[in-house]
């Protein structure tokens, strides 16, 4: 089983991505930031770190900031 973190902790990334929007679609959470869209964040309560690492890379979220919040 891959390492996971609770979604409420993932949401704390908002402080590293000021102005980002987070919403829920039928199958996934959709996060917008930097004029980019990440449409595949799982809706589970616990999210595997690979999904979060991918989202951080893709959206260009400040990694130093993210590392202070999550083990990514």
């Amino acid at each position: 089983m891959s390492a996971s973190v609770l979604f409420k902790d993932v949401e704390a990334l908002k402080q590293c991505a000021k102005g980002s929007t987070w919403r829920v679609a039928t199958h996934f959470r959709i996060v917008k930031y930097n004029n980019r869209v990440f449409p595949a964040l799982p809706k589970h309560d616990s999210i595997e770190l690979g999904h979060i690492r991918k989202m951080i890379r893709y959206l260009g979220i400040d990694r130093d900031c993210a590392k202070k919040i999550l083990p990514v």
Partner: protein
């Protein structure tokens, strides 16, 4: 353990609000072993990742996640034109870092610096030059659309070599 540069082709028919869309995508993804499990990171499209206990499980989950993203787009698009625009944006938004990692993995394998292990060693191999990335989003309900069995495209995964 090396990273594996993979190529794939998927074709889907997706029902939307008053339309049926055909989406055919030839893309790239990078398979790596992280956190004691397998991860498949999308390169093109870049905004997708999946995990599994085995490479095969990871392929299947990646395939399903991709399809579910197309379904979410369909639910949120008022018509075919909006859907096409959203799918193409998803495809064309690059992930420069993932592309660089894919290219490095490809060069390591092509030069012999890295050796593929099973099950990747038995995957079909193709040159990226022979399978360029591309996407086609078609309105299958458009007047005059003709259908033939040759339109069917099986899922394809191969290793870039």
């Amino acid at each position: 353990m090396p990273a594996y540069p993979l190529m794939f082709t998927f074709r889907d028919a997706v029902s939307g609000n008053g339309f049926l869309a055909g989406v055919t995508l030839s893309g790239r993804a990078l398979m790596v072993h992280e956190d004691d499990t397998w991860w498949l990171y999308g390169v093109r499209p870049g905004a997708i990742a999946e995990t599994g206990q085995t490479p095969q499980e990871t392929f299947l989950r990646f395939r399903n996640t991709y399809k579910m993203v197309l379904f979410d787009f369909a639910e949120e698009s008022a018509d075919f034109e909006a859907y096409k625009k959203e799918v193409e944006r998803f495809y064309y938004e690059p992930d420069a870092e993932e592309e660089r990692r894919w290219m490095e993995a490809f060069q390591d394998l092509r030069s012999g610096k890295a050796q593929p292990e099973a099950p990747f060693s038995s995957l079909p191999m193709e040159s990226p030059e022979t399978r360029p990335t591309q996407i086609a989003v078609e309105c299958l309900t458009a007047i005059g659309t003709r259908f033939t069995p040759t339109d069917n495209v099986p899922d394809l995964f191969s290793r870039a070599a």
